[in-house]
Amino acid sequence: MTEGIPLHYFLIISTLMFFIGIYGFLTRKNLITMLMSTELILNSVNINFVAFNRYLFPDKFQGHFFSLIIIAVAAAEAAVAIAIIINIYRRFKSIDVQKVDEMKY
């Protein structure tokens, strides 16, 4: 199915996704959007794993399993993050990350 698509296509896609995620994480003020950005970062890693597995070791499955583990961890992480965000909302009546600066000096 992927015959004819060279590896660096996948790598370019995943790199773009990674830096879009970083950019989103650093610039978005909304905590939910930041959570989405982290998902983008994680997924770019997943693409890398799967692509390298397919092109370098076609008869092995380690890359796939890593991707599955990352998806599971990401789901758990999303649950925790949303719980944190709900608590932040209850306390600050906002989910603006810049208002959450209790931990400063």
Partner: protein, 637 residues
Amino acid sequence: MPDYSYTLLILLVPFALFILIGLFGHKFKPIVSGIVGTSGLGLGFILSLLTAWNYFFSHGHGEGYKAIIAYNQTWLRFTDALQVKLGILLDPISVMMLVVITTVSFMVHIYSIGYMKDERGYHRFFSFLSLFSFSMLGLVVATNIFQMYIFWELVGVSSFLLIGFYYQKPSAVAASKKAFIVTRFADLGFLIGILILSYTTKTLDFLTLTDPNGPAITHAGGATFMGMSVITWSLIFVFVGGAGKSAMFPLHIWLPDAMEGPTPVSALIHAATMVVAGVYLVARLFPIYAMAGTPALEVVAYVGAFTSLFAAVIACTQLDIKRVLAYSTMSQIGYMMLALGVSGYGGHEGLGFMASMFHLFTHAMFKALLFLGAGAVIHAVHSNYMNEMGGLRKYLPITHITFLIACLTIAGIYPLSGFFSKDEILAAAWEHNKIIFFSAYFVAGLTAFYMFRLYYNIFWGKETHYHHTPHEAPKVMTIPLMFLAVASVFTGFIPFHHLVTSDGMPFDSHIELGVAIPSVLIALVGIGIATIMYRKETLMPGKMAKSLKHLYQWSFHKFYIDEVYLFVTKKIIFRYISVPVAWFDRHVVDGTMNGIAWVITYTSNLIKGAQSGQLQKHAFVFVTGAVLLVVIFIYLW
């Protein structure tokens, strides 16, 4: 060796009473602590008399009186060679002191039951009195110089506590601090003396130190410093401690102020017992003074003679009756010191030593009597000033008679006890040093004069109209007065030259008429002048004061010694030493610390913005760092 272990009780009973009354006294009626304290001291009094009887008369003493170690216990063990022991040493002077202390302390306890009635802190007073009795007894029976130093400080503390008994009165607080600081300052000298002495002789033990064949005396010719042997220097330093405790010039300034304490305390501590601790100290080390440190003994003699003259002159002009007695005490202690100073060791040469101890004994009795009598007078008229008194003989007959006996005793009229002891002192001075003799002789006249000035001003003189009629003190106060009056009359007949001598051997002594007759005569002259001037209210004292204006002023202001001390401390020590030191501390020492703190605060203010709490800023730094690391690892490594 006869068993003297019961002497331990004489010490332990007052100590137990101090703890008991101090901790539980407030739970009972005040009178309970008074009676318990008094009966404890009564027991000590009986035991001391028993000890004296056994020591002096009961057990054989063919070759003179030997020192006995009744009890000795290692208390602090540094090395095998250096150990501090606590124990009981019985020799003629310590047994005599036991009797003096317990007698006076017992009488003062009885007296205080009446005198301190209705005072706040009744049980506190009695617990401190017990503490004092314990410390003083421990001091006199010390077996080594270090134990003596421990108890020496303890009597200083109890004196401090009792002078400041009325702690609401600022003057009492100031007086107690002054007494403590001045004597502490002197004790520094004592400590240095102890250290030098024990370093040169390698022992702390009194028996070894005072042994005529011991290391202290045989090695005295060793090292010298500024022309005098090291032993002599150490003895001079030890004497500084003794001078502080015994209020010798120029460390006497605390004693008159110490009269702020309750009168029984003045009688016990500042007349009869603690202030003679300095005399006792010199007497305790006397063999070394006499055989290895003659220059130190001369210092003792001249300081004693000067103080006795100096204090007698001041006593002539003071108006506060307790201060007159305080200066009189200083003068009499000066007598004891000069007697020690002119004495030699052994046999008839040791006349001065014997006379000094004799005078210590009789002085304790009659001076305690004088103070207790003054207390009864103050109790009756509620004033310390003799110009607010007069004509009291009708109101206070018992106090009047006992006070008169005490005045005659201190003046040295035959056959009262003061005559005998003073006569021995004058005889000893005559044999050794004519200058000191004439000074002491003059002081004898002055003593008679100022004591009778006091007596006439209180009991005769002008008729004063009192707000309410003065009344005689209760029996519990007059009985000690009568007991001490009897003691003052008869203790002169105790044959001290057989009992308390420098080497323990009895020697023959008799009244030297050539000294005795002039000394009684000058006392009579002093009494006569006082009678003319003060028996009736006359203009003579005022005229005398005018004609001797400068002398009178100087004497009235105590020769401005207090002012000199204030000048030296405030204007010189405080200004030129304390102020720069304080400046150095505040600006340099504190400044360094403050500087370090300031640098740290400043730096942290500069960099604390990094901890902004902004999640995205942190993340940005993290990412930048990661990118940088990547760049470094890939391209620059």
